[in-house]
């Protein structure tokens, strides 16, 4: 049977990426650059200098008006009431089973005004979920197509971006954001990222995207900036111990099963899935995510089975070689008794058994900034 052809979605910078020679791939329904100069040089640029990513495929949802807070409180596991204006946090959008509809960032723009940054593949699901639970009458808008999002990441990101913005970047704390201009264009500038490095994520209206992209690349030339694709974005986040929706998380996985206890605020009051999480917090989880490093040669890829004897006891959720540490690492979902640091596990890599060891996450931690 011939399936209907699906048209891949494109960010406004799609032509720019192609012109610059990026290798394009399909990702979550989007036609996105996977690499420009190569995953290794791009990864290293972000760890040692600076890189820029077009992450406009990420979705934005605006939640505002009376009851915006109570709507978000009822659907997410972190405590939105703790957010000050100008502050953001990482959280889970929950279902009644304690599973995660998505993982996302919630930014508090104003008194009852929030801006959510959600996964590309979950844009519609999240928006549908939030609106279907909006008995509170908050104003919820899927603003995903209105924004270009760029991530400027790496130890030199502040030096590159500062001359182009009126925001005092050094005063912006980690997980805080502000409105300002970038290259003269109204933007939201947030000190957030998905690489384990210092850096910024900027959001602005799509119209001048190419000019801003090019201006930042030019400004970063002396610092050795590289345009980076989703390949390096994945190896960077994995090395830095960050989770990826659809791999470590899904609608059947709870935050407590993937070491996200720190974003679960059980004491904040009722929210979807809280009873399940309360029970798991008391009784423990049946499975647990753990970071591993290969001890035998080989690279354990996504979905590789974890074996105990001949029995499959878990699976690799993400696995890759990571270029900065030059190691083969990953995450695996395991029975809790096999997930403790120091445990040895056996991974079936395409028919060959290879040993790995559970290690503390994150495997890479950036050196403390000298200020």
């Amino acid at each position: 049977m011939a399936l209907p052809s699906t048209t891949l979605r494109k960010t406004v910078l799609n032509e720019t990426h192609r012109r610059m020679g990026a290798r394009m791939v399909e990702f979550g329904g989007w036609d996105m650059p996977v690499e420009y100069s190569g995953i290794v040089p791009e990864h290293m640029a972000v760890r040692t200098r600076v890189g820029i990513f077009d992450v406009s495929h990420m979705g934005e949802v605006e939640v505002r008006g009376k009851n915006a807070l109570s709507l978000l409180q009822s659907l997410t596991c972190n405590d939105v009431a703790r957010l000050q204006i100008g502050q953001a946090h990482y959280t889970g959008l929950m279902n009644e089973r304690g599973g995660m509809v998505d993982d996302l960032l919630v930014h508090r723009l104003g008194e009852e005004e929030y801006f959510l940054c959600v996964n590309a593949s979950r844009r519609e699901a999240d928006f549908g979920w939030i609106t279907s639970h909006n008995q509170h009458g908050a104003d919820v808008r899927n603003a995903s197509d209105d924004y270009t999002q760029l991530a400027i990441q790496g130890p030199r990101s502040l030096a590159v971006l500062q001359p182009l913005t009126d925001v005092q970047l050094a005063e912006l704390k980690y997980y805080w954001f502000t409105r300002g201009t970038v290259c003269g264009v109204e933007s939201i500038v947030a000190r957030t990222g998905y690489t384990g490095e210092d850096g910024f994520e900027i959001y602005f209206a799509v119209s001048e995207s190419e000019r801003i992209w090019n201006t930042i690349l030019d400004a970063g030339k002396a610092e050795g900036i590289l345009p980076c694709g989703l390949g390096a974005r994945n190896t960077l986040r994995l090395e830095a111990g960050m989770l990826l929706y659809g791999h470590e998380m899904n609608e059947d996985v709870t935050p407590l099963e993937v070491n996200l206890r720190w974003v679960v605020k059980l004491e904040k009051g009722p929210f979807l899935g809280r009873e399940v999480l309360l029970r798991q917090a008391e009784q423990g989880v049946q499975r647990s995510l753990a970071a591993f490093e290969m001890r035998d040669r080989g690279i354990a890829r996504d979905d590789a089975p974890v074996l105990l004897g001949d029995k499959v006891i878990g699976k690799v959720t993400s696995g890759s070689y990571v270029p900065f540490l030059k190691k083969s690492i990953g995450f695996a979902m395991l029975p809790p008794e096999h997930a403790a640091v120091g445990s040895r596990i056996t991974i079936d890599i395409r028919g060959t058994r290879a040993a790995a060891e559970i290690v503390p996450a994150p495997i890479y931690r950036r050196p403390k900034q000298k200020s």
Binding site: I39, V40, G298, S320, Y321, R350
Partner: protein
């Protein structure tokens, strides 16, 4: 990149240098370019049998794993162990110091199924155009 005329090539992007009863095998420049930065290599051991058209090892870039298909049938007489330590040589010199294994043929090489350099270049051109 020019493809050495002394090699024959497979449609899976391996090259083979035939020298009497011996063959040397590697992957092509086009293959390494498609794979990107190569970080891991798994090869058979000396004495292992390899079979024409069947996988005889794997090569992995950061993003993907690919099988290496043996162009010929025989037994492995030498393995480039330096290459296992330095798989990045495959990106740097795929047709030279990144040779992978040497094989003593136990059956005639299926020369009629292998591309000449000219044919391979044309094959790559068509594949890339698709």
């Amino acid at each position: 990149m020019t493809y050495p005329s002394k090699f024959r090539y497979t449609d899976q992007h391996e090259w083979v240098e035939l020298n009497g009863n011996t063959a040397t095998i590697g992957i092509t420049d086009h293959a390494q370019h498609q794979l990107g930065d190569i970080v891991f290599l798994d090869l058979p051991k000396v004495g292992d049998a390899v079979v024409a058209g069947k996988p005889c090892g794997t090569v992995e870039s950061v993003k993907a794993v690919s099988d290496i298909f043996s162009p010929i049938t025989g037994s492995v007489t030498a393995v480039n162990s330096d290459l296992i330590e330095k798989p990045e040589w495959i990106n740097q010199d795929p047709h030279g110091k990144a040779w992978m294994i040497r094989v003593a043929l136990s059956a005639p090489a299926p020369v009629e199924k292998l591309f000449t350099a000219e044919q391979y270049e044309e094959y790559v051109r068509q594949e890339t155009a698709e």
